[in-house]
């Protein structure tokens, strides 16, 4: 639950405090958001014994690395250097709290905490990309990349919700 609250806080930070992000800042947010989910998955690989959770975590690492690869290639092409900003900072500081929370869980309670957080995190990230990052982006190719990432994130959310359902049985 704490994680969910954190996510809503960070999402509201994204929505309120930053009327305008430059493309370099949008790129930084995109990369950081993917790195955070990889970090969560790496904790899952250490702590979980549940096959479904481990498979999900593996997919998160592989897919989010693929997205980072796309973003890295694009910023290189555009000659943009991702620029640290209040939104990426707030995502990172919330992620630190969530990582602490996940690391503090017992093996027994970890899976639910991880999967609940994945559901909430993907919801928040999808909403942030659709409602904030895409509208804020000026460069057409960066906009296109963000637009193409959404159809990849929605199945992650559906997948996380399936694992969540299986575990609650």
């Amino acid at each position: 639950m704490g994680a969910i609250i954190c996510l809503f806080i960070s999402y509201s930070v994204i929505a309120q405090d930053n009327p305008k992000l430059s493309d370099a800042e949008v790129a930084s947010v995109a990369v950081v958001a993917n790195q955070i989910d990889i970090a969560y998955a790496e904790i899952a690989q250490k702590k979980s014994k549940n096959t479904e959770v481990l498979k999900f975590a593996e997919t998160m690492i592989s897919d989010h690395n693929a997205v980072i690869g796309q973003a890295a290639a694009l910023v290189k092409k555009l000659g943009v250097t991702p620029k640290d900003n209040a939104v990426s900072q707030s995502l990172l500081s919330d992620a630190e709290k969530t990582k602490k929370m996940l690391n503090s869980k017992t093996i027994k309670s970890f899976d639910k905490a991880y999967v609940d957080n994945e559901v909430a995190y993907h919801k928040a990230v999808i909403a942030a990309i659709e409602d904030l990052l895409i509208p804020e982006t000026d460069n057409a190719e960066l906009k296109e990349l963000l637009t193409n990432v959404v159809p990849a994130l929605k199945p992650h959310l559906g997948h996380a919700e399936m694992v969540q359902k299986q575990m609650s049985k």
Partner: protein, 136 residues
Amino acid sequence: MKKILSLVLGFIILSCSSGSESTNQEEYAAFEDQSVTDQKSSENIIEPIAVKNTAHFHTVEIKRMKFVPAELTIQKGDTVMWINKDFVLHDVTEENNKSWTSSPIAIGRSWSKVVTESTDYFCSLHLIMKGKLLVK
């Protein structure tokens, strides 16, 4: 490794975005071309895998986290080829008993199978991706 990958991708995006127009369909085509070029740059020999559909050979494309077409009617003994045109790994796995799987199909690569019975399948890496083969 990531650096090499992004270099390769950078080159690819550069090389295939020059002609791209702005409809959604065509935008996504950039991703598709990219996977094909990815192979070329690493191996220099492989031609793009073409969609091929004949009386007894059928292609299912995997793109944007979907099997296209998701439902396919075939005859017993036909060959079905799946091409991964997405920018992440996918597999093709029989759904009810997990009796067979392609294992992960690399970006731009394909996997084929002779199909003898109607089958529900899914991607075990992305559980909500599902497809169906109907043998007449």
